[in-house]
């Protein structure tokens, strides 16, 4: 997943050369490359005619924009209030143990990355875990292994 100019050229030209395009551009780049690479920061800055530090400032402010690679499967464990009172933390602990990584880390083979998310809004089914776009409700510690196995 290396970036070169051609990679994001199309994305840039789809957006107006205005400051308000910055976040949508970063989101599109992330959809394509998985994260915001160093090289793209300068390309975006040049395109929008703002400084690199401003692009970096915005990219690093938002938790939804990543500056490091993600795994092929992004595992997100919900830490919302409803999940918290229904022991969501134990789900997180179990995923960490099973994947052998902590949250905000990526497995060595690049397969899984793990994140804690503030709330998915599926509180009625707490605790909740999401792998890429698959949502798993009413999670239990013992289901963690079987769900992760699906993606191995």
């Amino acid at each position: 997943m290396e970036s070169n100019e051609n990679d994001i050229g199309d994305i840039l030209t789809c957006h107006k050369k205005r400051r308000e395009s910055l976040i949508p551009i970063l989101q599109k780049i992330q959809d394509k490359l998985g994260y915001i690479t160093r090289g793209t920061v300068s390309e975006v800055a040049e395109y929008l005619n703002i400084s690199e530090s401003e692009v970096f400032g915005v990219a690093s402010f938002y938790t939804g924009i990543h500056l490091t690679p993600r795994g092929e499967y992004s595992v997100k464990v919900c830490e919302g209030t409803a999940c918290h009172v229904r022991a969501g933390e134990r789900i997180l602990d179990e995923v960490e143990r099973k994947l052998g990584i902590k949250h905000d880390e990526i497995t060595r083979d690049g397969k899984f990355s793990l994140e804690r998310v503030a709330c998915f809004g599926s509180c009625a089914l707490a605790p909740v875990m999401v792998v890429n776009k698959d949502v798993y409700g009413h999670m239990t510690v013992s289901r963690v292994v079987e769900i992760l196995r699906k993606y191995r």
Binding site: R18, R19, E20, S21, L22, I23, P24, L26, Q27, G57, V58, F61, Y62, T63, G64, I65, E79, G80, T81, A82, C83, H84, V85, R86, A87, R90, D93, E94, R97, V117, A118, C119, F120, G121, S122, C123, A124, L125, A126, V128, K133, V135, Y136, G137, H138, V141, S142
Partner: protein, 641 residues
């Protein structure tokens, strides 16, 4: 096409759904339905219909709010009432289809209830069920009954008639109607909507903006997501009405990225509005032009604050600024801007469709109308509910919610997310309205209600919210950035059993400082969970500090797990499941937990067969157990009181 023609066409299409000779199956596929497996159910339905050669109409609908019973489907046979089935599995669905659609057995054992005339043997009326009886579904009227991706379903059910009416009125007349309705902002603070609108309308400037705040960031709240996924047009219609009233020609829906389905459905909805002339340069031939765009959030809680949200739309870091100037005079790009919450916009639609006076019959004196809440936590029937304001807290928890799970005792309810507070069981009779909640130290907030039972530690909850707000603090002002960090430090200390006398007072002092000196709503309300838990559950704080004990047995550093020697039968399940290899034992041996290795995950407690119930969790005491495994049956005295 005139709107009247569109309406006639929509009604004809809608009636054809029910008037034909084919059965209709509605499948709830909003996010919560999907999490419970609704998409698998949908697939099985299609397969089964094909296999049995049944011709039926299958429609994906939004969320009816009975999340506890997801996945849910609604089957309507020609000339028959709607019958809703819940808790379905892919195994049971083929049989249900065969039984009801072919053999005419409506399977009362699987049915939740029916909607329609007459009586059905063994199936209750859906809206007479305790969960729905005290609800008033006005905002949620279409949720779960229409296809959110089909604008005609919305129009056939009265959609956009509010806009048509508004376009024939003067802006002043519309504001008067909203004033009569008594609508107040549903985003949290409860500012009268008509006042906000008239301020923005009176602001000078040709260029004005309308924003819908769909950045529902409060953990524990999902009403806005459910509404946008189930009936997006009801929100968008209100926005067009607002734009016309204020004189804005451009608008944004700022929706958080964690809601991909809502974003998808909003995109479809906007495209359809353009197609039908409900958005564009000349809306329904009125000469009024309005354009709308969707802005996807990027994962910053603080962007729920209006000035931060606008900074984010402008492509900057989402940091709030001080007010005044208020957005009504200087908002997006310095232009007058009116920003309202998702549910407020949906309320506007309702008021314009049905009238301000009609709307004001619901609610109590100062809080009019209904309000949606997401009911979650340790309550039997979790879900999306809508009740008239002023309803008693207890009615929501015990009647609608069906009480507490697993026959535990109700301890507290958390309202308003990280900005709100925890109300104790003694306040069960207090009404749910803006003033009463504020007086209790909480806020109405965005509408999350998380119910807690005796197994919830209130100090841990305070710590949980503080760690959230501390992480989400944008860092611009010192009281919030440093204050929340310091408060969190103290709470962590207390939860770890290192609390010192005076910590509670120090927390209170810090909390009040942060509250009164922070720049924006995030910091000003962040101390609420701490202050309310101290106010109502001070004894729990004291137990942590003075006795190093967590009464709810939650705080890891203060609890221990033990295997009771006289109950353990040496089955070995705990040993095999222990992730920390902290349990030693053997066949027919009393198992022992090595306290120095135990990570307190609680797996042993979960897996120990209930017929033995040999594992216990305690706080503030030690239980005498053998040092090493000994044979089952060996007499051992332990001191479990």
């Amino acid at each position: 096409m005139t709107f009247e023609q569109i309406y006639q066409q929509s009604v004809a299409e809608w009636n054809a759904l029910w008037g034909g000779d084919k059965p209709c199956i509605l499948v709830g596929t909003a996010t919560c339905g999907r999490a419970a497996g609704a998409l698998d159910i949908l697939e099985v339905i299609h397969e089964e219909l094909a296999r049995q050669r049944i011709e039926a109409i299958v429609i994906q609908v939004g969320c009816i709010g009975l999340c506890y019973a997801e996945p849910i489907i609604d089957i309507i046979k020609p000339g028959q009432p709607h019958i809703l089935y819940g808790n379905l599995t892919t195994k049971v669905v083929p049989q249900l289809i065969e039984d009801y659609l072919i053999k005419d057995n409506p399977r009362p054992d699987l049915a939740l209830g029916y909607i329609g005339e007459g009586e059905l043997d063994g199936i209750p009326k859906l809206f007479e069920l305790p969960v729905l009886k005290s609800q008033k579904r006005l905002i949620l009227r279409n949720c779960g009954f229409i296809d959110p991706e089909n604008i005609k379903h919305y129009i056939a059910n009265g959609g956009y008639s509010g806009l048509v009416k508004a376009l024939g009125m003067t802006p002043g007349g519309i504001i008067e109607e909203i004033r009569k309705a008594g609508l107040r902002g549903r985003g949290g603070a409860g500012f009268p909507t008509w006042q906000k609108w008239s301020l923005c309308r009176r602001s000078l400037g040709k260029e004005k903006y309308i924003i819908c705040n769909a950045d529902e960031g409060d953990p524990g709240a999902f009403m806005n997501r459910a509404l946008l996924e189930s009936d997006p047009h009801s929100v968008l219609e209100g926005m067009v009405i607002g734009a016309y009233t204020i004189g804005a020609n451009n608008g944004y829906v700022y929706c958080r990225a964690e809601y991909p389905l809502a974003l998808e459905r909003l995109t479809v909805a906007l495209r359809q509005m353009e197609e039908y002339g409900l958005l564009g340069d000349d809306i329904l031939g009125s000469g009024f032009g309005f354009h709308m765009e969707i802005k996807e959030g990027a994962g910053a809680f603080v962007c729920g604050e209006e000035t931060a949200l606008m900074a984010s739309i402008e492509g900057r870091r989402g940091m709030p600024r001080s007010r005044p100037p208020f957005p009504a005079s200087s908002g997006l790009w310095g232009k007058p801007t009116n920003i309202n919450n998702v549910e407020t916009w949906a309320g506007v639609t309702l008021i314009m469709q049905r009238g301000g006076e009609w709307y004001s019959q619901y609610g109590n004196e100062k809080s009019k109308g209904t309000r949606t809440f997401s009911l979650a936590g340790k309550v039997r029937r979790t879900g999306l509910i809508e009740v008239p304001l002023g309803i008693k807290l207890g009615e929501i928890i015990h009647e609608i919610g069906g009480g507490i799970t697993a026959s535990k005792d109700f301890k507290a309810v958390q309202t308003g997310g990280p900005s709100g507070g925890c109300l104790p069981a003694t306040m069960i009779d207090s009404p749910v309205d803006y003033e009463s909640l504020t007086a209790a130290g909480s806020i109405m907030g965005s509408g999350g209600l998380v119910v807690m039972d005796e197994d919830t530690c209130m100090v841990d909850i305070a710590k949980y919210f503080l760690s959230f707000t501390q992480a989400e603090s944008c860092g611009k002002c010192v009281p919030c950035r440093v204050g929340t960090r310091q408060m969190l430090n103290i709470l962590e200390r207390i939860c770890n059993g290192d609390g010192a006398p005076g910590d509670i007072e120090l927390l209170e002092k810090l909390a009040n400082t942060v509250k009164s000196t922070s720049l924006c709503g995030l910091g000003q309300t962040a101390p609420n969970p701490v202050l309310t838990t101290i106010r109502y559950f001070r004894d729990e704080y004291e137990a942590h500090i003075k006795e190093r004990r967590c009464p709810a047995c939650v705080c890891k550093k203060l609890i221990s797990f033990y295997i009771l020697p006289d109950k353990c039968q040496g089955c070995g399940i705990c040993l095999r499941n222990c992730p920390a290899e902290a349990i030693s034992g053997g066949k027919k041996m009393i198992h022992v937990i090595d306290q120095s290795k135990c990570i307190k995950c609680g797996t042993c407690l979960d897996v120990c067969p209930t017929r033995f119930s040999a594992v216990v969790k305690v706080s503030g005491k030690e239980i005498e157990v053998p040092e090493k495994p000994i044979p089952v049956g060996t007499h051992f005295n332990h001191n479990l009181g």
